[in-house]
């Protein structure tokens, strides 16, 4: 693990427990992300990776039962999902939702102006907004037509993921969580998406990449790799950990953890 202690802590998660209905899924997550860092969270299916991202974003289906989460000092758990967004948290969805009849332009304008309102600013003029859309489209090589189509409606898997990164580019979050952004992508789309994420990287923001495979990490280089299993982060290491997992699979981790439990 790289020594980056001098950098400011952006996200601090402590002993986070969360459940859906009666089932506890997160069983005490501890996670510290500093500005400028890229973290990868890996782990076998059903370990709680997507739940962690949903809980941080404030998905109402999950109930937090214990613990804390702070984004640049703000208590995330007290904020509504939209205020978390305004405070700079962005979630790239594993399955982006279709909203028929709502054009990307209208959707993004609502998002941008909601954020401006939160910070006491006037709505953006139509001209400035269209300029912004144009600039940000280039980040993920999204063409003009795609932006005028309804939100995710009839988009291919690759287009949906590029569209997520496009939204991330427009909203300029300080913390982006990419939930299985590589799933359903062919190699070209993967490269475009990854290059978009890399272009958006600054010393001030941070990214959490949730993924199953090493593949995406060939393009987005993590500083820290965590392994999530049974609702806990059971292992934290440097980029080499991802390679080790690729080679050996998750079984050795599972065995270690399960042995401890006995």
């Amino acid at each position: 693990m790289k020594e980056t202690e001098d950098k400011e802590i952006l996200l601090q998660v402590k002993n986070l427990h969360a459940r859906v209905e009666d089932k506890e899924i997160l069983k005490g997550i501890d996670l510290t992300v500093r500005r400028g860092e890229v973290h990868a969270i890996m782990g076998p299916n059903g370990s709680g990776k997507s739940t962690l991202s949903a809980v941080l974003a404030g998905d109402p289906r999950f109930t937090v039962t214990e613990g804390s989460a702070a984004l640049h000092g703000a208590n995330l758990l007290e904020l509504s999902p939209e205020d978390r967004s305004h405070e700079g948290l962005f979630l790239s969805f594993q399955y982006p939702v279709e909203i028929p009849g709502v054009s990307m332009v209208n959707f993004m304008r609502a998002a941008v102006n909601a954020k401006r309102k939160y910070f006491g600013q006037e709505p953006m003029s139509a001209g400035d907004f269209l300029k912004l859309m144009r600039t940000k489209r280039e980040v993920v090589e999204l063409d003009n037509k795609l932006a005028s189509r309804s939100v995710n409606e009839g988009f291919s898997g690759g287009e949906k993921k590029r569209n997520e990164i496009f939204q991330m580019a427009v909203l300029e979050p300080c913390l982006s969580i990419l939930d299985e952004t590589d799933s359903g992508l062919d190699i070209d789309a993967l490269r475009i998406v990854a290059s978009g994420v890399n272009k958006l990287k600054t010393p001030e923001n941070a990214t959490i990449v949730i993924t199953h495979y090493q593949r995406l990490l060939d393009y987005i280089k993590p500083d820290v790799v965590h392994i999530l299993y049974k609702g806990r982060i059971v292992y934290t290491g440097g980029p080499e950990l991802a390679l080790e997992l690729e080679e050996k699979g998750y079984d050795w981790i599972k065995e270690q953890v399960d042995a401890k439990e006995l």
């Binding site: 974003a57 404030g58 998905d59 109402p60 289906r61 509504s80 999902p81 939209e82 978390r84 967004s85 305004h86 962005f90 979630l91 969805f93 982006p96 939702v97 279709e98 909203i99 028929p100 009849g101 709502v102 209208n106 959707f107 993004m108 609502a110 998002a111 909601a114 954020k115 309102k117 939160y118 309804s150 939204q167 909203l171």
Partner: protein
Amino acid sequence: MTDIEDKDIENTPEKVPAAGPDAGTQPKTAAADDSEEVIREVTASDYKYGFVSDVETEVIPTGLSEDVVRLISKKKGEPEWMLDFRLKAYRYWTTLTPPQWAHLEIPEIDFQAISYYAAPVKKEGPKSLDEVDPQILDTFNRLGIPLEEQKALSGMAVDAVMDSVSVKTTHRRALAEKGIIFCPISEAIREYPELVKKYLGSVVSYRDNFYAALNSAVFSDGSFVYIPKGVRCPMELSTYFRINASGTGQFERTLIVADDESYVSYLEGCTAPTRDENQLHAAIVEIVVEEKAEVKYSTVQNWYAGDAQGRGGVYNFVTKRGLCRGNYSKLSWTQVETGSAITWKYPSCILKGDGSVGEFYSVAVTRNRQQADTGTKMIHLGRDTRSTIVSKGISAGHSQNSYRGLVRVAPDADGARNYTQCDSLLLGSDCGAHTFPYIDVMNDTAVVEHEATTSKISEDQLFYCNQRGIPTEEAVGLIVNGYAKEVMNKLPMEFAVEAQKLLSITLEGSIG
């Protein structure tokens, strides 16, 4: 959209129609903070048109009889033939009972407890004909309809009707230069008796139904439009209906005639004060479209809908029908229905001319205790006639929202073609959406299609919007407007923006 469900199937000669299920559920979502100017407007008052104007009004005693019919006719200074028309309708009406077939729970209406004529009193003193009581001007200003000629909306001529009379029609001179007649129907009866006699009741007979008979007996005012041959009306024509007096009903009558190769776009808007009593509105709209002529008729119906407990609101029982009489004529209905406690209305097209085209685009929103049973009839009589029906129902609260439509293809209507799309969107778990499509095809060259979907705003969609910073109320507005876009796009520009706001406003607070 999510949850496209299979529907029950009826046997018909052609394609199968689908009937909607009764209700869907909408899981709870945290109500979000207020946002957007639109929503702020609402938090102040739920229905911003609910004010009452202090206008001196002459209201005749309640009750309906031959004497009342004669009195109305006399007040209007009508010729004998008009009185005869009314009396025939009245006598026929007394033999009828209100229709019960709609999916509506209509409390019994005491027709003797209603006053059938209410008119703002003209102030005394020498005044020019154009002068209107400042109170009335103020009323329409508050409704966003300036009536003073110099302030009048450009590109739109307005006939303003308050209670039983037309108070002002703008831009008349400019229209007259093109030979277009746009005036209150009471005036048309006096000034253009031949035209009125020829067309009045030719599409909707007084024998058509209970409310049509009632309207034919007591109708007070409304608009008359005549577009001469080959004239393209240079501006939108609009009638704005306002109920103001209490204890009264409004029974307006509109007649639009588009002669050969003419074109007109006509808009109708309506509002009423917030009251605990129910008020009856029973209108007739008749449209005649001659050869190669085109009429676009758009409605934004926003009568007072009653409160959350279902107290008060307008009963909106309306017969609207157009006859595409000439070959290659076209009639297009677009309606955005958000108001009224009860809506019973089926704007229809009789496609008589060969190659004539009928269209019906509808968004109907019900919430709280509102009930709507609305749809259309497309009657294909001529060859190669085409019709399109796009109906978008949105139900919230404890409301009931039904689409009822008939597509009939007559034996001689070779090559007739219909496409129907009927969608329901449910907000909440206590509302109902129903679909009653009737298809009656007697010609085997006809092609009739029916598609239906039922969906709800999913928690996933709302969370997606929230994650991007869009609060729930605003997200609902966006999603609903997106759902209704196909219909909203058919509205003239002047109306589209208002209607979009209205949709967002109407559904404010529906989620939660």
